[in-house]
């Protein structure tokens, strides 16, 4: 239970680090590195974010990180086999709700783990590769460094992140059985409702603070 939780947290945080408005044609490893460094630098300097200003953190993640993520792909991956029954309209709504959940989680992790140091592992790819893994590590005091890996896919000229693994835990597949459980109980619409409720509850509680 213990390290598991730590890793999960790290994982979520990782996403926060993944992307920025860099022009197309940036190599995937450079993309991950630039965005990580840029976002962490802002977080470390910004007093409001450090004081727990949720809105500001969310804005930062939305501006710098979101453009480099492919949420529809992530949503389909976390649906797994259940993805076959989703209509295009449902997918739009679902990935919007899923995105909100993930963004909030990342923002939380970003604030909780902002002082950790990240190192980038050597990266190589062939010019023709369209699907790559960029490996990074989070240093932890008194423990083995946590692995933080980004999976990116080439989309035309740019690279988009479609999965993140923290300590070997994939953000995508970790939702898979929960999603399947919700779909069995109430169909795709049931899953959408559950996500909406979760997001709404989180919104209210962050406003209350």
């Amino acid at each position: 239970m213990k390290y598991l939780i730590g890793l999960l947290a790290a994982c979520l945080f990782a996403t926060g680090a993944a992307a920025t408005g860099v022009a197309a044609d940036v190599a995937p490893d450079a993309l991950v590195k630039n965005v990580t460094n840029e976002v962490l630098e802002i977080v470390r300097k910004d007093k409001d974010i450090q004081a727990g200003n949720t809105r500001k953190t969310l804005e930062l993640v939305e501006a710098k990180v979101l453009p480099h993520f492919n949420f529809q792909r992530m949503t389909l991956l976390s649906l797994g086999r259940e993805g076959r029954q989703v209509t295009p309209e449902q997918l739009v709504v679902l990935s919007g709700e899923f995105r909100d959940l993930l963004v909030r989680t990342y923002s939380k992790a970003l604030t909780e783990f902002r002082d950790q140091e990240i190192s980038f592992k050597p990266f190589k790819m062939a010019a023709t590769d369209t699907d790559v893994r960029v490996r990074t590590e989070i240093k932890q005091t008194g423990g083995k460094p946590a692995q933080l890996d980004y999976y990116l896919e080439r989309n035309g000229k740019s690279w988009k992140v479609y999965d993140i693994e923290v300590g070997g835990i994939s953000l995508v597949t970790n939702y898979r059985s929960t999603f399947a459980q919700e779909i069995r109980a109430g169909g795709i619409d049931g899953l959408i409702r559950t996500l909406q409720e979760k997001n709404k509850a989180a919104d209210t509680s962050s406003k209350a603070k």
């Binding site: 999960l8 991956l77 909030r104 939380k108 909780e112 423990g143 070997g168 929960t178």
Partner: protein, 242 residues
């Protein structure tokens, strides 16, 4: 003296763990979701709820107090101290997994950190280039090809699989802290280690709370993925995603 203790303690621990597994088996009938990795989900959910309640009532508040009162360098020292003790059997497990170079590095860590690092309070081996590893008997069994078996939530201990429960029992049996002959010292150290470990996880709590739709399955699936990755030392073949 240490031996006497082991003889009386270990079977007791073993017996209670076996009882739990047997009980889990009997309660398997209550399972609901039909997840093949979690055949006794009904029982596991109940035990998970129990663990959460104990955590909320006792362990977490103590860990929060500990985190609040002690300065960060002291907490790091405590984590390092127990990490140094753990490195010994991490080395043994690396040896059992056929990685003698890593085993040598782990034992080197123990030597350096116990001396230069003042009884392990400072981790001087990591900056010196000897990286910390994470191994246990459950991983060693996994490396040898033993499958997971069912997912089981043990009381207080938390998530395991049948294989990792067996590994955990071995871990505890050889654990230098649990085998200390001086019982009061042993108990203080065991409690300190538990609280320190829990305190290290406090930031993660909030993130999981934010992330999970159903905490039980989020933690379960995370545990299973994490263990798989550990058995492969971080290089697990990617599971089919589509």
């Amino acid at each position: 003296m240490a031996n006497d203790m082991k003889q009386t303690q270990t079977p007791k621990r073993l017996r209670s763990a076996m009882l739990v597994i047997a009980l889990a088996g009997m309660l398997g009938g209550c399972a609901t979701s039909g997840n093949p990795k979690d055949p006794i989900e009904g029982f596991n959910r109940a035990m998970y709820g129990f663990n959460e309640a104990v955590d909320t009532a006792v362990i977490k508040p103590v860990a929060q107090g500990y985190d609040y009162v002690l300065p960060a360098p002291v907490r790091t020292g405590v984590t390092n101290f127990f990490g140094n003790i753990a490195d010994l059997f991490i080395g043994v497990n690396n040896l059992l997994q056929g990685k003698p170079d890593q085993a040598v590095s782990d034992l080197g860590r123990v030597l350096i950190n116990s001396t230069v690092g003042i009884l392990g309070l400072f981790d001087v081996a990591t900056p010196a280039g000897l990286e910390k590893h994470e191994e246990d008997f459950g991983q060693t069994f996994g490396r040898w090809g033993v499958g997971n078996g069912a997912y089981v939530v043990l009381p207080i201990v938390g998530p395991r699989t049948v294989r990792d429960t067996a590994g955990f029992l071995l871990d505890v049996t050889v654990d230098p802290v649990a085998n200390l002959g001086h019982v009061p010292t042993r108990n203080v150290l065991l409690a300190l280690r538990l609280v320190d470990t829990r305190a290290d996880l406090l930031p993660a709590d909030k993130v999981i709370e934010e992330a999970a739709l159903d905490k039980y399955s989020y933690v379960r699936d995370g545990y299973l993925q994490r263990r798989r990755s550990l058995v492969y030392d971080g290089n697990a073949p990617r599971e089919a995603l589509d």
